[in-house]
Amino acid sequence: MGPIARVFAMPDLGEGLEEGEIVEWLVAEGDTVTLNQPLVEVETAKATVEIPSPFAGAVATLHASVGAAVPVGSPLVTFAVSDGEARDDSSAAVPPTQTPPDRLGVTRATPPVRKLAKELGVDLASIEGSGANGRITEDDVRVTAGNERRPSAPSRSTLAANLERQAAIPQVTTFRTVDCTALESFRRELGVSPLPVVVAVLCRTIAAHPTVNAAWTDDGLLERPEVNVGIAADTERGLVVPVLHDAGAKSIGALAAEIKRLAEAARTGSLSPDELTGATVTVSNTGSYGSEAGTPILSPGTSVTLAVGVIAPRALVVDGEILARPACTLSCTFDHRALDGAAVGRALTDLVETLTSAERLRDLPR
């Protein structure tokens, strides 16, 4: 076996020292040294010490000159050693450098909401939170997610929380009593309930009074071209508000069929998320359970809720005479930020005039 080159690196002579300065070489290149023979005098931050040779053999290279500071771990002396096992000098694996994570969007949401948003692929930064301090709620995420996921029926507590939020909106309710003689005769003629007719009349009214279909946002009043009418419905699962999309483009017959279908779906809990979201105005058929008048509250995203009370014979003054006529009370709640009383009054007058006019009713798309 021929000689093997062995490199002796500057050891840590103290505790955590980083370098040592060569004071004096005690051997020269070409010298033959014995194990533990003093090689070099080194001065560190703590002490001046003699380093003994770790090998017996010939000194091949001295890697530093007197006065040089040699970092711990750098070659000090290379020896030519006759035999001996090579030592394992494999260096420790260098840990991979980590790239810092992207800065998170500045959104307020609790961890479960963030998780839901991730699951539904919703970008929280794109949502205006409807919760306290602008916090994004579970509903906000679901509304944004649209039809990607079928939501479970809201629990009583979720409903309560939603209602509390809606009740915080400044809202006013105004009432009108309507002679339903024309309406009753018209809807009997068509073989439908009064509700699709009221919806159709509402859509026609909105065409002339678009603010009824608008929403109040941080940027002011947002008008919407499409009329999507939410129909508040009482089901075994609680209150749900299925939506008649683009109701203004539909005939009374189509509206009646759609209402029937939505009511059935609401009862069986099979409404799609799309059918539960996007209302621009709401009609509540409170007459279906005998209520005469009320103060409905607004649905999320709408500025007006129109409650239709029970249609029953009432004593009305017609042309100076007291007559028994089928009649009902309309209760109209509106977001006072979006609308004022006069604007709503004008719209309601227009709506009532249509509802009470056989002629105007006949103009509606059948």
Binding site: A9, D12, E15, L35, N36, K46, T48, V49, P52, P54
Partner: protein, 368 residues
Amino acid sequence: MLSAFDEGDSRGIRVASEPEHWRGTEPVRVLAPDGTAAGDTDVGLGPDELRAMLRYMLLARRLDRECIALQRQGELTIYPGFEGQEAAQIGSAMALGADDFVFPTFRELAAALVRGVDAVQYLAYHRGTWHGGPYDPMATRFAPICIPVATQIAHGVGYAMGLALDETRACSLAYFGDGSASEGDFHEAANLAGVFKAPVILFCQNNGWAISVPTASQTAGEIWKRAGGYGFPGVRVDGNDVLAVYRATREAADRAYAGEGPTLIEAMTYRIGAHSTADDAGRYRDDDEVERARSFDPIARYRTWLTAEGHVDDELLREWHAEIEDQVLAIREGVIAQPAPPVEWMFDWVYADAPPAIAEQRREVLGV
């Protein structure tokens, strides 16, 4: 060079003035510093045991110097040398029985050799492969190496209390230094030992220096005298006189076995080297002082006496020289061959059963 065989030859020892911290009460001696008899030299050991003590001292010194070299070659982390203290450690360790238990500091490699601790396993501590001491402390009756000074004295006392409860005829011995004796733990342990009459030997190696602070700055009194305050005997011996150390320790052990309680031994010795390889004694100590102290060298003194008595001769010493060189080289190779332990060892003995958090971190490190 690293061998001690050229030290203390038969031309005789020229004794200089004694180290400063030895002044005061004259230490008990069997051998005078020049290697002549200073008292009754029959300490109860036969010729083989007398020879064995010298051989241990020679091995210890040679190994100590090898360890300093190994540290400077990057093979050991910090190493605390004990040159000059061979008699104090070997004389005391030789006096103990197989059932006695030693509680060491971090400077008792010589005593460990006598107790049969494997030197490679012991040095794994200084190589940084494990804490405490990778040797089996129960099998060797040699507790793990102890760094926080004086804390081990209470362990020795507690162990001795346990021996007394079991009515076992054995004792414990706790080593400590002159600096440790300033710690509150020394006081608490010594006081407990006295109150419970524990069969323990409190063995102080007063080597004159606690890193850079001399004994005179540690205490204004003499450490052995404190024993009286705790209600048990103390004795000051020449710690570089291996026969005196042996006799004092033997007597203390016999007292302990007989149920007479603890003994405090202050062995006056001298730390020839620096506190450790990370220390430069030249910053605070004159070379002259060290040179003077070398004239009290424990190996030269004992070798002179043994040679004069005819127990050893040059031929035997040459034979030992060769054996010890081989022995130390084998230890060197054993130390260098020691790999880093498996990483899971960090977790494996923290608790008898690893709690979930540690089990999880262990899996994380292992990547399983």
